[in-house]
Symmetry: C4
Subunit: 217 residues, 4 copies
Amino acid sequence: MATLEQLCKEVWEANLGIYRGGLVTMHSGNASGIDRQRGLVVIKPSGMDYEKLRPADMAVTDLEGRKVKGRWKPSVDLPHHLYIYKHRADIGGIVHTHSNYATSFALLGRPIPAYLTAIADEFGNQIPCMPYTDNEGDHIGETMLKYMGNAPAILLAHHGAFAFGATPKAALKAAVMLEDVAKTCHLALLLGKPRPLPAREVRRWYDRYHTTYGQKQ
Amino acid sequence: MATLEQLCKEVWEANLGIYRGGLVTMHSGNASGIDRQRGLVVIKPSGMDYEKLRPADMAVTDLEGRKVKGRWKPSVDLPHHLYIYKHRADIGGIVHTHSNYATSFALLGRPIPAYLTAIADEFGNQIPCMPYTDNEGDHIGETMLKYMGNAPAILLAHHGAFAFGATPKAALKAAVMLEDVAKTCHLALLLGKPRPLPAREVRRWYDRYHTTYGQKQ
Amino acid sequence: MATLEQLCKEVWEANLGIYRGGLVTMHSGNASGIDRQRGLVVIKPSGMDYEKLRPADMAVTDLEGRKVKGRWKPSVDLPHHLYIYKHRADIGGIVHTHSNYATSFALLGRPIPAYLTAIADEFGNQIPCMPYTDNEGDHIGETMLKYMGNAPAILLAHHGAFAFGATPKAALKAAVMLEDVAKTCHLALLLGKPRPLPAREVRRWYDRYHTTYGQKQ
Amino acid sequence: MATLEQLCKEVWEANLGIYRGGLVTMHSGNASGIDRQRGLVVIKPSGMDYEKLRPADMAVTDLEGRKVKGRWKPSVDLPHHLYIYKHRADIGGIVHTHSNYATSFALLGRPIPAYLTAIADEFGNQIPCMPYTDNEGDHIGETMLKYMGNAPAILLAHHGAFAFGATPKAALKAAVMLEDVAKTCHLALLLGKPRPLPAREVRRWYDRYHTTYGQKQ
């Protein structure tokens, strides 16, 4: 079983990943992870410079958002992370960004169809977009849960994106791939009329990718 | 009370911030800060390489623009900074850039509506655009003051943007967020017809952001 | 004759090149090279972080894809590389990416005409686009071979691009130049109606470039 | 009087500047400088990696292009540089790039009007575009000389851009500013119909910039 320090390091790396990957600027965005055995959530502290963060700066709370460890206040988006962790036992890492290309689709309330084999590989379907939701109570968490289905990422109208994975690193990967495919699709939509891949082809790419890819299978 | 050296360091960091963030190229742009107790303004020197600047290279003047310290001439945009400092006691840092996406709206004389929750959070309203103004005397400062209202940033038609804050770092943040939201809005405008958030929603995001965010409240 | 270690280093450098050049994100893309005398292919391992790769991490297989050396599984795209190496004795390095601008043309199934002298120099013709092809067996390799002709790069509809060269570095160069010219052509197509260079002019640029350029002639 | 070593260092820095500034990729582009007293031109060697260049790698030729010093062949674009140095005694540094936004205008044969105060400051007029010209003999040099007028930069239809200055660094600055303003103008042209500044306003910005800016006046 991994230690809490290990999780803090993984969450810190995911936060660095969204910053160095250009998915966030200044203080926007955040990444978190959960230790299911201890019932603890680790998340970026609120309003701090990414470049100066250290693993020990991560905020640690319980599933009700009560601070357990760390000198800093957690991200103000903590409630949305907690809501998903409480309702989706399969999710171990969450990333939130306003990355530009993904958010340009979100601003228009448009999902991103499975235009590309990379979307088929990583997302297995179109990337959904939930309607505009205010930031009161659990509204954002509730709406995400309702619209996300099994997708590893969801667009939030007028707002940005959340990405999910079994670990903070998997969520980072989904967030990076979301922005990457959003950019390519955006560029193609300016040039012409792309057509989505047939559902059967999407399924074949997804199944292959999830059975043969990487070092762990 | 902070020392003048501390302010020079903060202004230098804000200048590095706009350079490393890609908001300026070569010698364009500048950041400044004010020491209200001493009546001194610290600003980037004119026409020097960002990468080679050191805190001690910052130019120090009084509120009339007379050089007080430093071997270098101050930025030629100093008069616009001074005008704002003299007329807005709440402002302690100013940043000027020609960042590409923001300036593309400025070139067209278009304000950026509150399309995104990030605009609501940071700007609390649409981002205003002032009409084209020549560079004689205090014309730019006067027009900015007239059109900026309470906004932390303003677009200058055919020219670029200024951003404001209580500190140089806060002005840097406003300049970075301006370019970030300008890019997302630009991309969405190429794909479709985004709609601004309702004024009531904008207000709620702004109020929440300014009461709960960061480490200092 | 170069050693296998030398080839591993060249393939590692080509993989770093596509990562640092922004042609790939996270784990997407891959570069390979072949040692014709030993009958060995060196390729990026599957699903690993580019930044952490070392030359010794490269996967080494024979031309049937059987692992000969290395602790890691090779890229899942290995079969496409092998197919080309088996059918094109002139090719010694292959690069696969989903680079954004090139893939925006690919998504639409559009070749890139020889609009620019840089396309004439490097590619000597339009950059071809092959039809959508599923990922079963040798389908991708077969279709590439059929549509690529003598081109050093080909677009794959709904998918991405492959680039080829006598060495891994030459393939890297073709992949980088492809994305560079794709970006310029994309930008021009948004502004107006570019016209291809006449075939005779394309030929003159290509011939000059391939007889006078570089240090080795 | 500066030494030849000093000029090699300045030319090397200008070449690094176009590479680090993202104006060139792989081996494209080049920067040069001239030592008028010695009648020597220093230029990037042909087809070499920017990152590995050292000042001593620069190629040194006389005004007829005969190699005087250095182990490497000069850039194949040397004749265009020489032609300008021979016909324009006021020019001491030249930069050639295919930077994406500038070249998107060039591909369409479109000059860039003085839309922005930054164009007025740096260029003092619209940025001209010369017609497509083949690469035989002195054709490119002759056509540039005919169309460039007093502009510090010119677009070459279907090809790229050249920038000029009293020193290699001044030419670098013109090349960087060209790409920067080309990007902003491109973005604005996608959103609406920008209008050029009136000629009188352009003149006022230009005159002010060239009398008050920087540290040397």
